[in-house]
């Protein structure tokens, strides 16, 4: 502990160099935290998935629809407790750039199926009773300034839903109780869309609650078997599997982000290592003097590593805190749509700090070794 002052003073030796290095590490940690946050966002959705919900889509592709008659058949499958459905509406709110999830749902069963959608009882009632009513997530409401009672107009984007504009009244603003639902979407009455659809009575996907989570996969298979060889074959997966598929469509995220993270770490190691090497090289005489005073080689080694560590941690703190403040889906405007909510949580911050500590120590190892191996007499002789 008494050496802390010494290390801190050494760091202040060349303020400009230290600052540049700290900023370098800060940037690296910032970038790393941002990437990790995105990956964690996907993981969070997966982790929050309900073990008792399964999703049914057309087996040829999820972009095709199924008839409403499938509902009864699914309900009659052993192990099924409850069924709801939804359609992807994909409309345009004022500008095609304003992208957010719009779902045509059966309000009563949908809200029953997703208890994570937190809505007051009176708002729920108001939504159910208004055919042209809708509910929006609080994140979406914040983004566009929606309030209860507001009227919004959405232009259909998919020809099936006709060409007339749809008028909605906001009857509720919901909160997301877990990562299983996002707060950037809008739900409205399926009947309202069906009235204007050609063809009618089409469902995008079914969501089913099963009685026993351990048998979810078997029940899913049983559901599909009901429809094999029909004109509308289905594919049913657990909610978790279903979201994983979505993530994989965006690309091999783990690999991509992992490689970038690696590059980030390497670049910073070069920069930090360079700094430590320069720092040590300038101080050969001082190191020799300290050795003469009785400082052991191991102590010198620790002091150099300590210096690298402090510089890097300084950068790490800045980078991690900056990432926490800036990097989240909402402020970056990436919320809604295919990328799940993400943000830099406390765990990410700790990982970022750990990374900076690693960089600080790793970058210092070689310079520290060279400093500790210095032959005192040679170093003293150099100057005079």
């Amino acid at each position: 502990m008494k050496f802390v002052n010494l290390v801190l003073k050494s760091v202040r030796r060349n303020k400009r160099r230290t600052t540049l290095t700290v900023l370098s590490v800060a940037l690296a940690v910032f970038l790393f935290s941002a990437l990790r946050a995105v990956l964690d966002g996907f993981d969070a959705v997966s982790a929050a998935s309900s073990a008792t919900r399964v999703v049914t889509v057309r087996s040829t592709s999820m972009i095709f629809s199924m008839p409403t008659s499938h509902e009864q058949t699914i309900r009659s499958t052993p192990g099924v407790e409850d069924v709801t459905w939804a359609n992807w509406f994909g409309g345009i709110y004022k500008d095609p750039k304003n992208f957010f999830g719009q779902f045509a749902v059966d309000p009563v069963s949908y809200l029953r199926m997703y208890p994570e959608i937190l809505l007051s009882e009176e708002d729920k009632k108001a939504f159910i009773e208004d055919r042209t009513g809708c509910i929006v997530g609080d994140g979406l409401a914040k983004k566009y300034g929606f309030k209860l009672g507001d009227k919004i107009t959405i232009q259909p984007g998919i020809p099936v839903y006709g060409s007339q504009d749809y008028e909605f009244t906001i009857r509720g603003i919901y909160r997301a109780g877990s990562s299983a639902v996002d707060n950037q979407s809008m739900m409205f009455h399926w009947k309202y869309a069906d009235e204007r659809s050609t063809p009618k009575a089409q469902v995008g996907w079914y969501v089913t609650r099963v009685s026993d989570p351990d048998r979810a996969a078997k029940i899913a298979l049983a559901i599909d078997q009901q429809f094999s060889n029909s004109a509308y074959e289905t594919k049913t997966d657990t909610e978790q599997a279903f979201s994983a598929q979505f993530a994989s469509m965006l690309g091999n995220l783990n690999l991509l982000l992992g490689s970038v993270a690696l590059a980030v770490v390497l670049t910073t190691l070069f920069v930090a290592g360079n700094t430590m090497a320069m720092s040590v090289r300038e101080r050969t005489t001082e190191i020799a003097v300290m050795r003469t005073l009785g400082f052991r080689a191991a102590t010198i080694f620790s002091l150099v590593v300590g210096e690298g560590f402090i510089v890097a941690i300084g950068g790490g703190v800045i980078g991690a805190l900056l990432a926490r403040a800036i990097v989240n889906a909402e402020s970056l405007g990436l919320a809604g749509g295919f990328i799940p909510m993400f943000g830099v949580n406390n765990r990410n911050v700790l990982v970022g700090l750990g990374l900076s500590a690693f960089i600080g120590v790793a970058a210092s190892l070689i310079p520290a070794t060279m400093a500790s191996r210095l032959k005192i007499v040679d170093a003293l002789r150099r100057v005079a």
Partner: protein, 230 residues
């Protein structure tokens, strides 16, 4: 009783395939409380001898004992610990650490001990008091004159109350007045505080202040000339 005993000490360096002899079978005894000056032309090996006494270099042959310890037998780690306790080294170029204040520079050797912060502080202020620089405790080396820097260096050398003070051309980089001040200080440390000092110098005026002068030439002692304490 001799504090320092060098017996048959030789030091050679290997450069490429050549062997260069720097010290050739030097035998010296130094009594406790002596102020010894080592003189000689450049290349005579006097600095090397000092380095051997400090334990920052090892003899190729021969033994060196200081007090009860045969330092030529110690390991690197052992030497470091021994050095911290027993040696105070004063360099020609002062070699203060620029980012530390005078106080912190003097405190440096004490960081290797188990003293508390307050105890360290007391030792440092005492040492600075002896060299007459207590009011400069919080100044950085760049704010001090050459003479003052060397005195801080001396404070650093005595703060651990070492057995032996070694000085390598302590006045070499100073003007006459500052040099004289430093030498007076060394004499005081020797006379008043009974410190044993071995000083390497090429300056006869500096050597005059010592109680004994030894001459080295090409690695060997040439003559012993007792000089009256001046």
């Amino acid at each position: 009783m001799a504090l320092i005993e060098l017996r048959d000490v030789s030091k050679t360096y290997r450069r490429d395939a050549e062997e260069i002899g720097v010290l050739d079978r030097v035998t010296i005894s130094v009594a406790e409380g002596e102020f010894l000056a080592l003189m000689g032309p450049s290349g005579s090996g006097k600095s090397t001898l000092l380095n051997l006494l400090a334990g920052i270099d090892q003899p190729t042959r021969g033994t060196i004992s200081i007090g009860d310890t045969e330092i030529s037998k110690l390991s690197e780690g052992g030497l470091a610990a021994w050095r911290a306790r027993h040696i105070g080294f004063i360099f020609q170029l002062y070699n203060l650490i620029p980012v530390l204040t005078a106080f912190e520079n003097v405190e440096l050797p004490l960081l290797l001990t188990n003293l508390t912060k307050k105890q360290r502080r007391d030792h440092v202020m005492t040492a600075l008091g002896i060299v007459g620089l207590t009011e400069r405790a919080s100044h950085y080396p760049r704010q001090l004159s050459g003479g003052q820097e060397q005195r801080v260096a001396i404070a650093r050398a005595i703060v651990t109350d070492p057995t032996l003070l070694l000085a390598d051309e302590p006045t070499g980089d100073l003007d006459a007045k500052s040099g004289a001040e430093v030498l007076t200080l060394l004499q005081r440390l020797n006379g008043e505080y009974k410190k044993t000092i071995v000083m390497v110098t090429h300056d006869p005026h500096a050597a005059e202040r010592a109680s004994r002068v030894l001459h080295l030439e090409k690695g060997s002692l040439s003559q012993q000339q007792p000089v009256a304490v001046g």
